[in-house]
Amino acid sequence: MRMRISGARVVDPANGVNEITDVTIFDGRVQSVGKVPDGFDAERVLDASGLVLIPGIVDLRARLREPGAEHKATIASESCAAARGGITTLCCPPDTDPIIDTPAVAELIHQRATASGHARVEVLGALTRNLDGRNIAEMGALKEAGCLGVSNAMQPVSDTEVMRRAMEYAATFGLTVFVNAEDPWLARDRLVHDGAVGTRLGLPGIPEIAESIGVARELLLVEQTGTRTHFCHLSTGPAVDMVRDARSHGLPVSADVAIHQLLLTEADVGSFDGYCHVRPPLRSLDDRARLRAGVRAGVLGSICSDHQPHELDAKLKPFSETEPGISALDSLLALVLGLVYDDELTLPQAVAALTSGPAATLGIDRGTLSAGAAADVCLFDPEEQWVLDDASMQSRGHNTPFKGHTCKGRVRCTLVGGRVVFESQPV
């Protein structure tokens, strides 16, 4: 269908666009950004004055809970929630049940996502079989089944020799390795950041160096193997510095940060707030400041939701018994915009971290509005205020410490391949 979206502020950092202009879409692809081509006869025109148009958000890490934990959420429920949040591509880590260490599981997820017809779903395959950290997975087959990279999710690969060989094997197939960099012994059985708050609450803490040591080991292995490696959910200032230095020396590494780490700190655990139980833990004010600086500098090229929906019971327990994770799809865009409104990020920096940055990490041709690109688009009202609560959350999981928060910025329309997958009211 031929569609024209007129009068929006178009922000497409990949192409250096940040202006009020028109966008035309034809046959599921972006035809033009700027002057409407002569003779373009739109079947549908969206009057987007006052709205902002960005490439559809690419969320690097979202747990959809299917297969294996459908009592928490499903691919259908979460891809629908994603579309309502302007997210057009979700990437799912391999720690489903069964684990994505066989092509069949990857195919299942792709089929369910297509059948649901909302956001696109990409998957990462397992680095080791059953995520056991000992035997490498059949990465060739996983790549052929469409996995964009491999990962050991939150399970450690303690044996350095195994990690080295796994990285070499991944590189053989051109797969990016996504790592959770954390020294397993320093982090074992610990819950919060190792510092004054943890001491006050009597909760065992994970020291900052657990992440630094993990990052250091992986960086030396990258130097040795040349494997493209992405550091997931960094949480400490020192880790950001290490990744920055590695990149300046030409190592093929990238990193992301979860949106909650840019907003919350260890103090938010307060009096044992289980909604603030996350992994890696919320850290210090200094870490948060350095993470924000890392996004501005492009060292942290992506901001992701790190979406982990849970059923109510998972958080209705004493802190150490709660399951970690925040349900974040519904609030990702609004919370990132909050950083823009607080002058922590410019709008182009924020949009890049949500679109072109993650797309580049995944190696997919998305997150841009280049001519010929798939028309995955998010159109939002930057001024509309709304409250994040049980009524407004679309994800099956409502586990978020941001409940009650007044958000500014709301999605009006989301397109995937030029098809409307969400529209709050006809634009």
């Binding site: 190792d194 510092g195 004054a196 708050v197 943890g198 001491t199 006050r200 609450l201 009597g202 909760l203 065992p204 803490g205 020291p207 938010d268 307060g270 009096s271 044992f272 707030d273 909604y275 603030c276 019971d313 209705l316 327990k317 004493p318 802190f319 150490s320 018994e321 410490p401």
Partner: protein, 328 residues
């Protein structure tokens, strides 16, 4: 995001609703607890050891961790207030069948109790129960994980006040495994809130929790320096598990360098008192000569514990009664 320790524990009129942690409570309230305990201290010496304050009330001892002494003192305190007592030893009950803490709570609430005394292995468990319990129920923390043991700290403060008077001039040394101790954390909050001149902790590096200075203490690694001129020496129990997990090599070495003996106490104030929450590990954190010697007030601590618990229970249930009267 979540109410602070103070607003969960104290109602709008400054009355104690729940007693979960000393952290966040004001000095006046702590003094009030000590003064209330003074009035109960005589009850145990009388022939009829009861006052009718909590007659008709039901207090549930909900203990998820085994404990004889703490549970017994809470039970005695409740009975001296004429309350009915229910002891739930949750380590043998339905929790081992996988019942969630919340379901256990709801089941007990259906039996119309007025107060839970909770001891649990996880830090924050008492807060969790206080947040989810029905509005008329008071929760007393009998010890949660490593976080807090507020009634123990208050009986320790009662002991100090009885034997050493005002806190403002006192140098207090807490010796031992502070990192894993809920008693130490509560004592530190109480001492700093009551205005002790110096609060020192004495421990090897492996047993000092990170950022502990922010609680208002100075840290000593050597026992003699830590005890120099101290008016109050509080010893913490060293659990056997600490000798595994790379924290300490042996109880023998611990006793050499951190065990308190008469000889080590020579540097403390001549009138210093020695305290210990019990039970004692003789030959590990304390020498028998000290435990049984003239400076030890360890056995007095136990009897003061009943008075403190009577005070806290009557204040908390009393607040609910007063609040209900105001609403009706």
């Amino acid at each position: 995001m979540i109410s602070t320790g103070k607003t969960l524990q104290v109602d709008a009129h400054g009355r104690l609703k729940h007693f979960l942690t000393i952290d966040g409570l004001e000095r006046e309230l702590l003094i009030n607890i000590l003064d209330t305990a003074e009035s109960f201290a005589g009850v145990g010496e009388r022939a009829v050891k009861k006052v009718p304050l909590l007659r008709g009330k039901t207090i549930v001892n909900l203990f998820f961790e085994p404990s004889t002494r703490t549970r017994t003192t809470f039970e005695l305190a409740a009975k001296r207030l004429s309350a009915d007592v229910l002891n739930i030893n949750a380590s043998t009950s339905s929790t081992t069948k996988g019942e969630s803490l919340l379901d256990t709570l709801r089941t007990l609430e259906a039996m119309h109790c007025d107060m839970f005394v909770v001891r649990h292995a996880q830090s924050g468990a008492a807060h969790f129960i206080a947040r989810h319990a029905a509005p008329h129920i008071s929760v007393i923390n009998g010890g949660d994980g490593r976080h807090a043991h507020p009634t123990q700290a208050m009986l320790d403060m009662f002991t100090i006040r009885r034997h050493k008077g005002d806190f403002a001039s006192l140098k207090v040394a807490i010796v031992g495994d502070v990192a894993h101790s809920r008693v130490a954390r509560s004592q530190i909050h109480a001492l700093t809130t009551l205005g002790a001149a110096q609060v020192r902790i004495v421990a090897p590096r492996t047993l000092v929790p990170p950022g502990v200075e922010s609680l208002g203490v100075t840290v000593h690694q050597h026992l003699r320096a830590g005890l120099a001129g101290a008016d109050v020496v509080i010893l913490l129990r060293l659990q056997n598990e600490r000798m595994q997990g790379a924290l300490l090599p042996s109880s023998h070495e611990y006793f050499q360098y951190y065990g308190v003996t008469e000889e080590k106490l020579a540097v403390a104030d001549p009138d210093a008192i020695v305290m210990h929450p019990g039970p004692l590990n003789r030959g590990v954190e304390i020498d028998s000569d000290v435990a049984d010697g003239p400076r030890s007030v360890i056995l007095r601590q136990v009897s003061y514990g009943i008075a403190i618990r009577m005070a806290v229970m009557s204040m908390a249930i009393g607040s609910h009664a007063a609040a209900e009267r105001e609403l009706s």
